[in-house]
Symmetry: C2
Subunit: 387 residues, 2 copies
């Protein structure tokens, strides 16, 4: 992988960005979903950084994970306390260099940051969908992204890049639209959700649905199922970390006390951290979106969808060059799952690079600063754009 | 370890057993707990199998885990559908041979199967304690067990044996009463709860406390926080299994359907399994007991308690011979934690045997039939009783 090493770690902010919207499928019929249901109209919130070149060959599509949104980099306003969720990676001179590439990130459908989801108004009832929103799949998310790309009249994407559920969308893009994806970077992801991953998601969903405020998902004009969503987020956070990272970050350190106080409450720092993460999440996320997106992840099974059960067959139509990245301490989508996909790609003679990054921060590692990842992505993209 | 191998895997049922009760600490003052609080009176539910020999040197104390009870083996009635929780191990000719040993198992205090706990009547109010029950520790559980052993006028235990939270009690016994424990078998356990283990327990507790029926723990004359307890149990069950065992047991198999039905509900077998485990648990367990016992586990830190932070020092007064057992796929109390304790034991020149059993069933493996464990325990106990 030495060809990809680049020591230039400097990079500037993507600056001020603006959330934009694209609405399609307004006609009768709307967007046909994998479940057979139809969704109409469909709005996609998206943001772009960098400039589209004249032949539209410098486009990178970034695909976000469960709780992400279109705000990948930069600031909406100079007053913003924090930049977009992948600002460490996206910007002038950064791993995904916006001086070179036109970078698009759109909010997945069923989410709650501008794209159509369960909190959107159902035009048939003039009320929020709630759980009348149809179940969606990773394929449906990609279908909506394809409509946005078509709207830009972009024929081929230089690269599709994403981690976790974003990585599932990367794999789906390569199988669903093999002629539209020149290269792909699935990070910390899997070709199909394991029983363990489904189990965690199901318990998190049960926590939401057990909240007395959930009301079968029709809570938009009343109290929200905040406690349930907070617990769901706490479960998620445990799976994003690792035994090692939690030991290093928290160990058995106590929270604001020098000795055990023998009470129920956050005595240990790790308890306080989880409670804080839960509370912070309910301010920005919709519980129904959590239900829908986790379900889409659970449904994800590339071999089942494109290979009649065979992962090798699932990649048989792919034409993309791949950079697959896993993390040593990621136990949600462990390295053996990435190796399985790499093996299947190689059996199809695809051009694939694989890197397991030694990181102690668990599944979340793909969102944290990492020179190695910056350099890998930078080199891989230059290589892909020079071909 | 070859000296411990014994091919005799036959064994009979312990037969009909009876739950008995021992009450102590009735005097003013009662049992002083580590928190400083006092508990009075204290009742211990216990069961025995086998016969106490004349010099009382054949006594084995079995210590149960979170959801266990005193019913380790045999049946209460010939009509019982199921025997005690460790019937595979305890009985005539079994790993813990009741033809040779007098085996005692008592329900831990704060539990809900006969020993004093939050559902017990507080004699000061004539109502169930609820969360007025004092927080207890693994040390407090052992203190109550010691009172029972003293009641039997047993000076020394041939062995103390337990897995998971039962294993913590084993370690506590050896440090707290070094002269009373001839040998000890801590299984699938740890000398201190990791941040990861605390995190899972805390989220499970939050699920219970978020249940609208929880009512600050005072629910005994109303609806119980069943949904919260079911979710807590589901979280627990995930940690008792492993990625591998869930893949083998469930994979992505669907529950009673041939295709996805695109609905929230148990579409996958693993979801159905977890929901079933949750529902089954609420029929037999008290939510407050879950809170108290998990908290006791989180508090457990042998080095902090007995070694001023040093695990080597924590074992310095121990005199027991040890058989430490871990399981390859146990990610709740992984093998490295058992190795740490073995290392600390060895630094104190203790006689310790260690075995990591190759098992795919995760933390729960210690409760499942395993010839290797039977033979290890049988050999170790014969060795200990012959010394």
């Amino acid at each position: 992988m030495s060809e990809y090493i680049d020591q230039n770690q400097t990079g500037a902010s993507a600056g001020i960005v603006e959330k934009q919207f694209f609405t399609f499928a307004e006609s009768p019929g709307g967007l046909k979903l994998e479940s057979g249901a139809r969704l109409s109209p469909v709005t996609i919130a998206y943001e772009t950084c960098g400039s589209l070149n004249s032949d539209k060959t410098n486009v990178i599509l970034i695909l976000h994970a469960l709780s992400g949104d279109s705000h990948m980099a930069g600031y909406y306003s100079p007053k913003d306390a924090k930049p977009g969720w992948w600002d460490i990676m996206v910007g002038p001179g950064k791993g995904i260099d916006t001086d070179r590439y036109f970078v698009i990130c759109s909010n997945i459908i069923s989410s709650c940051a501008g794209s159509t989801g369960p909190a959107s108004i159902n035009t048939e009832t003039d009320k929020p969908y709630g759980t009348d929103f149809p179940l969606i799949t990773i394929g449906d998310m990609v279908e909506a992204q394809k409509a946005l790309i078509d709207h830009f009249e972009i024929k081929s994407l230089l690269s599709v890049i994403g981690g976790s559920i974003g990585g599932m969308q990367v794999l789906e893009w390569c199988s669903r639209y093999p002629d539209s994806v020149k290269s792909a970077i699935p990070l910390a992801t899997t070709t199909r959700h394991s029983a363990l991953a489904i189990a965690f998601n199901e318990v998190a969903r049960q926590a939401i649905m057990a909240d007395p405020n959930w009301n079968d998902g029709h809570y938009y004009s009343a109290k929200k199922p905040d406690m349930g969503l907070a617990i769901a987020r706490m479960i998620g956070h445990i799976t994003y970390l690792s035994d090692e990272s939690m030991r290093l970050k928290f160990g058995r350190k106590l929270q604001n006390r020098s000795a055990l106080s023998f009470e129920f409450g956050a005595e240990f720092q790790v308890e306080s951290y989880l409670q804080y993460q839960g509370k912070k999440f309910i301010e920005r996320f919709d519980a129904n979106s959590f239900l829908y997106i986790t379900k889409a992840a659970d449904y994800f099974d590339l071999a089942g969808q494109y290979g009649s059960g065979s992962l090798v067959k699932a990649f048989s139509k792919c034409k993309s060059k791949f950079l697959v990245v896993s993390y040593t301490s990621d136990w949600l989508y462990p390295t053996y799952q990435s190796k399985e996909m790499v093996k299947a790609m190689k059996k199809n003679n695809l051009d694939v690079s694989f890197c397991e990054i030694d990181a102690q921060w668990g599944h979340d590692a793909f969102l944290l600063p990492n020179d190695r990842l910056d350099n890998l992505i930078k080199g891989f993209l230059r290589n892909a754009s020079n071909e």
